[in-house]
């Protein structure tokens, strides 16, 4: 094998074949992505989510989107399971840790998202959805100019997004489109975390597409690739299939080795 991987070895002045550092580094990085996706898939989903949450909390504000992703894309029982696992693993509740370590304006939103135990049935209240869409619109309008308080700190916004069922929120999203020129997510460009919350809850496909897209670019950063790994390991294949299909070419082009097989495996019909 050593003979075959000649580009990894260089002869130095002393005529000794040694590692080509940069090539080895990229090899490590590739394997790491593969290792990550395998390890993530092997762990029990609840433990996995609990550990992901803990890590995101530790790493700080730029990683809070992971918390949003987990809290919003899991089912009520999966999220509950993650909370139980968190108790067992860390001897605390996720709510206490979030509430005491998140200092900024996103605290209320994050704690409420993680505490949600949403109704999962199809029943939706049309009238309530209409008035809630209006309330959201007002909250966004009022806080666009006022930089002291953000929309994500508004109680109204928080309780709508963190207690209503997902089917209900999808109706709110549609109603919003009717009364405003833009969609909620377009209107929330400024408040990224709130935007991602709405995306994950109402239009998760858009969110997944964006993650795939960012990760498969030329200049994709570590975090973007990690995000893709996380998605592939934690989301249902069914949800990702359509999206992965769009990116099939890019995957074949940009990604190498076993990691590529995992990504393409999402597309395969006979997986699991």
């Amino acid at each position: 094998m050593r003979k075959g991987c000649s580009k990894f070895f260089l002869e130095d002045e002393r005529q000794f074949e040694r590692w080509n550092d940069s090539a080895i580094k990229s090899l490590k990085a590739e394997f790491k992505l593969f290792k990550d996706v395998v390890l993530l898939s092997l762990m029990h989903p609840w433990e996995r989510d609990a550990r992901l949450l803990k890590k995101a909390l530790k790493k700080g504000p730029p990683h809070y989107n992971v918390i949003v992703e987990i809290a919003c894309t899991r089912s009520s029982d999966q999220l509950l399971g993650a909370r139980k696992a968190y108790h067992s693993l860390f001897d605390r509740s996720i709510e206490e840790d979030l509430a005491s370590h998140v200092k900024g304006s996103e605290r209320k939103l994050l704690v409420a998202l993680v505490s949600a135990y949403r109704y999962e049935g199809p029943k939706v209240k049309e009238d309530a959805a209409k008035s809630e869409a209006k309330a959201l619109l007002n909250a966004i309008k009022n806080n666009n100019g006022d930089h002291k308080k953000k929309a994500m700190e508004e109680d109204e916004v928080i309780w709508i997004l963190t207690t209503r069922s997902k089917p209900h929120l999808k109706v709110v999203y549609e109603q919003f489109k009717k009364i405003s020129a833009k969609t909620i997510t377009e209107d929330l460009e400024v408040e990224l975390l709130l935007k991602e919350t709405v995306e994950c809850l109402c239009t998760p496909q858009t969110y997944f597409t964006r993650v795939f897209d960012t990760a498969l670019r030329e200049d994709a950063k570590e975090d973007a690739k990690k995000a893709l790994t996380r998605l592939v390991a934690t989301q249902e294949d069914v949800d990702l299939k359509g999206i992965a299909a769009k990116f099939e070419d890019k995957i074949k082009e940009r990604v190498k080795g076993a990691y590529k097989d995992v990504l393409l495996g999402v597309l395969a019909d006979d997986r699991k």
Binding site: K84, S93, E96, Y117, Y119, E120, T163
Partner: protein
């Protein structure tokens, strides 16, 4: 939770130990009447419980080894130090749990079908035999009552509760219906009623959120989904406003850590924080709410003890700044519910019974929801505070079948 092969083998081991214990270490041996997988129950940490024994004869020589609802804790047969201490600990916990409840269940309980038949008889014919209803339902625990309801529906094609609703009326009916419900459904019903009325029922929401264990609150929320096709949190958010919502929403959404571990440094920091906020009269401050709504009960207890040691006063004394302020009253009750619920319930009962015209709603609610939990401790507290036994106060203030069932649930024994 996935039940892999290793876990299954461990479950089998415990079940075999338990059966061996029942067959060989009892005289006469206890034979489990229904050895099927539906009677093997897994508790949270995969602790194995065996159910379905409550219509068995328990041996007189080992009365404490069978829990009143018939569950036998899987016991290893080896007699060594470890298993003995484990068994002693389990027995101690069972005794402690039973010591706090006032509900009495006969040691030999009639079969479910017998109970259903008797209940059916109680409704048939002219009038209702309330005494029979009290005698049966008043002496069955939640598991038994659920089984009765299920069997009654299967046998007679009618929901027992609907039958009761038709036959009974007034306070007695409310008490029977509320009592007959499974605790989770009961909490869901009480919570739903509380979101429909106005301010005084904020107290009921807080009471449910704070005096139940994390899992009991969770089951109540699940029952709420099933019964009302929406979440409790949505209803609370929709029907409360301002500071009350700020406090109640996180309280009903909580899923507290239930361990006993306490971080003393944290207790000091948070006691200081609370003291600062209270001194500034910032009662509904985010931090105050965060501590009360997310910390474990053990941690809150430690924090409040430290508060008293460091600043001289009980936190509730400092929260009495304005006696008319309803939010402060709710905050004080929240603290009570979290750290000494028996005092909270004693007060509710005291106010319910001593007012001109008993507040039957509160009396019914407290007796129903605590009879299987800690009504004994509450009754002791009541007697300590009012110099009158709770049962005597109930007799004085209520009458008829309502009084009779209350007394039965409160563990009163006829002399």
């Amino acid at each position: 939770m996935k039940l892999g092969w290793i876990k299954r083998i461990n479950v089998m081991k415990v079940v075999l130990y338990a059966l061996s214990y029942m067959h060989h270490d009892f005289s006469p041996p206890i034979v489990h009447p229904d050895r099927s997988s539906k009677n093997i129950l897994l508790h949270l940490d995969n602790e194995v419980h065996i159910s379905g024994l409550w219509h068995c004869q328990a041996s007189k020589t080992h009365p404490t080894s069978i829990k009143s609802n018939g569950a036998v804790y899987g016991v290893p047969k080896e007699d060594n130090f470890l298993t003995r201490t484990l068994w002693e600990r389990i027995q101690k916990e069972i005794k402690e749990e039973e010591a706090m409840a006032t509900l009495t269940v006969p040691t030999t309980v009639p079969s479910v079908s017998e109970d259903c038949e008797q209940l059916r008889k109680a409704f048939s014919g002219w009038g209702t035999n309330e005494g029979l209803i009290i005698d049966i339902l008043g002496h069955r625990n939640a598991e038994q009552r659920n089984l009765i309801r299920k069997t009654y529906a299967e046998t007679y094609g009618e929901d027992l509760l609907k039958a009761l609703d038709k036959e009974l009326s007034n306070d007695f009916e409310r008490l029977v219906l509320l009592w007959a419900l499974d605790p989770a459904e009961r909490d869901a019903l009480l919570a739903n009623e509380a979101t429909k009325r106005w301010t005084s029922s904020n107290q009921v929401l807080m009471e449910i959120a704070c005096t139940r264990s994390a899992n009991q609150l969770l089951h109540a929320r699940q029952a709420y989904h099933a019964r009302y096709k929406k979440s409790l949190e949505e209803d609370v958010a929709h029907h409360t406003t301002g500071d009350f919502r700020k406090l109640l929403l996180p309280l009903v959404s909580s899923y507290r850590y239930e361990g006993e571990e306490v971080n003393m440094t944290l207790a000091k920091t948070e006691a200081k924080l609370l003291h600062e906020k209270i001194s500034d009269k910032a009662y509904s401050d985010d931090d105050v709410i965060r501590v009360l709504a997310t910390r474990s009960k053990a941690q809150i207890n430690a924090t409040l003890n430290h508060y008293k040691n460091e600043y001289g006063n009980d936190i509730n004394k400092d929260l009495k700044a304005d006696p008319k302020d309803e939010f402060l009253a709710l905050l004080r009750s929240t603290v009570k519910c979290l750290v000494y619920p028996e005092k909270y319930f004693e007060k509710v009962l005291r106010l319910a019974i001593n007012r001109r015209g008993t507040d039957e709603g509160a009396l019914t609610r407290v007796v129903c929801t605590r009879a299987e939990v800690d009504l004994k401790i509450i009754a002791d507290e009541y007697q300590r505070r009012n110099s009158v036994p709770l049962t005597r106060a109930i007799v004085k203030d209520t009458h008829g079948d309502y009084e009779k069932l209350l007394l039965v649930l409160a563990g009163h024994v006829e002399n």
